[in-house]
């Protein structure tokens, strides 16, 4: 993968990070999709060599700095998600956007479950069901988000 594509990847990650930490009204907050996770998924699937596990790890580390109770929590969850995405990237890519969204949903569930488990083990349990809401909205915004990310990656 060229340097150019790596730059686009980082830019996409930065935009996603900003969207993730952008202040929202409190009632809207639980519905905010995990933009950075979607971005990592996209790059792991469409450019598994420049994206992939390392990208997931460092994106997760950034999330940890912004909103993690302990360092490494989001990093672990995102490494896992991007590993799964890289492994299944060929099968995933061949699907239409709608079916992709159906696969993104369990991927987000896996991601949130890892966070949930680590939160519990590390003594910051948040058992509110609201924390799972973003998995649904994330799957719903996947088709347009993937289209935008593909455009940003210069593939459209």
């Amino acid at each position: 993968m060229s340097v150019d594509s790596r730059g686009r990847m980082l830019l996409a990650a930065l935009v996603a990070l900003v969207l993730t930490v952008l202040p929202l009204p409190a009632w809207l907050e639980p519905f905010r999709p995990a933009f950075l996770v979607l971005t990592v998924l996209f790059w792991s699937v469409y450019a598994p060599r420049s994206g992939g596990v390392a990208f997931g790890f460092f994106a997760g580390l950034a999330l940890d700095v912004f909103q993690g109770p302990i360092l490494g929590e989001h990093a672990l969850a995102l490494s896992l998600v991007s590993y799964l995405a890289v492994r299944e990237h060929q099968r995933f890519r061949s699907k239409p956007a709608f079916q992709q969204a159906l696969i993104v949903f369990p991927a987000l569930i896996v991601y949130e479950f890892v966070l949930f488990a680590i939160d519990g083990w590390s003594g910051h349990p948040v058992t509110s069901p609201l924390r799972w809401v973003h998995t649904v909205t994330g799957a719903l915004v996947w088709p347009p988000a993937a289209a935008i990310l593909a455009y940003g990656a210069g593939r459209a």
Binding site: A26, P30, V65, R87, L130
Partner: protein, 375 residues
Amino acid sequence: MAAFGTVPGRSLQGRGGSPGFRFTVYALLSVVAMYLDQRQHYIDQVRYVLQAAAYPIQLAVNSPPAAWAWLRETFATRQALETENARLRATERELQLRSMRYEALERENGELRGLATALPPVADRWLPAEIVSIQLNSLRQRLLVDRGALNGVFKGQAVLDEHGLIGQTTHVGPWSAEVILITDPEHAVPVRIERTGLRTIAVGAADTTSLALPYLPANADVQRGDLLVTSGLGGVFPEGYPVARVTEVHRDAVQPLAQVRAAPLARVDTDTEVMLVWFRADHPAAPASPTAATPGSGSLGELRQGNPAMQPQAKPQAATPPSVAPTTNGPTPPTAERGAPVTSPSPSNSPSDAPAAGRPHDVPAAGMSAPKGQP
């Protein structure tokens, strides 16, 4: 990496080996990072650097609201400014009138306590800080303020606004600090009911506008409208600062504990500035510092070595009586079931060192440490 069997021939062997291998490496790295962050605090330095790196992004994200506020301020009408000016002048006059007798009362108070000279105020130094960003949802209630270690801010520092307690700093970067609000579900603040002197713990409820008092027995003397002030226990907040007002008391015949809710006095949603406070360590009203605890308490010493990450409130101390001590016939305070920050007071303290409720300075630990500084 048999555990992560990648399909051979997929030609993803980049510089770092197969995805499975890379995942193993990064997963191990994350787990090590989590372990170090949670148990050892070795990577506080790393966090400090990362927080510094994150600050520009946080500033940038916050710039549209900041720009909007600036625009509004710039184009404020003359009339609005005059109104505000008049209001400020009225407030100032009122405050001056109220503080007129302050000096005399302070001296009187000192004489009553048998001290040769009046005590200086417990707050040593104030530093206003602007709120950079606010995270207010049911899961996390944090502020980011624009003062950091370079301004002398430290971890576990009390943060107030002009109405009451806001919270304490959790992560401190060079130019910024994260403040956990008292309404955060992970936060607990030791309080005293001002009317009765009854001490308890106020825990952040799952919504942004209320605190819960989960450890009050059903027969506790608490009413709607009671003022909660900091009790000075816990080692972070000094004694006597207003925290919240009780809004709801629900007593259920079958429940051993009363369900009490309180609304915080600080107005985080409208504040743009908060105050970081430094306190005189040798003042009787200062937060009981962990070093002031009496030695020779074996089991409590072990408690003190507990995981500090799980105890944003300072650790329990030898001289800290159980918070529900005045009602000794009530149930023992339940161990904090949510884990950590809710450091429930150790029930192993003898009830004899529980002071009578309602005394002006019922802070035993601070009381013990105070004479060192006083002639």
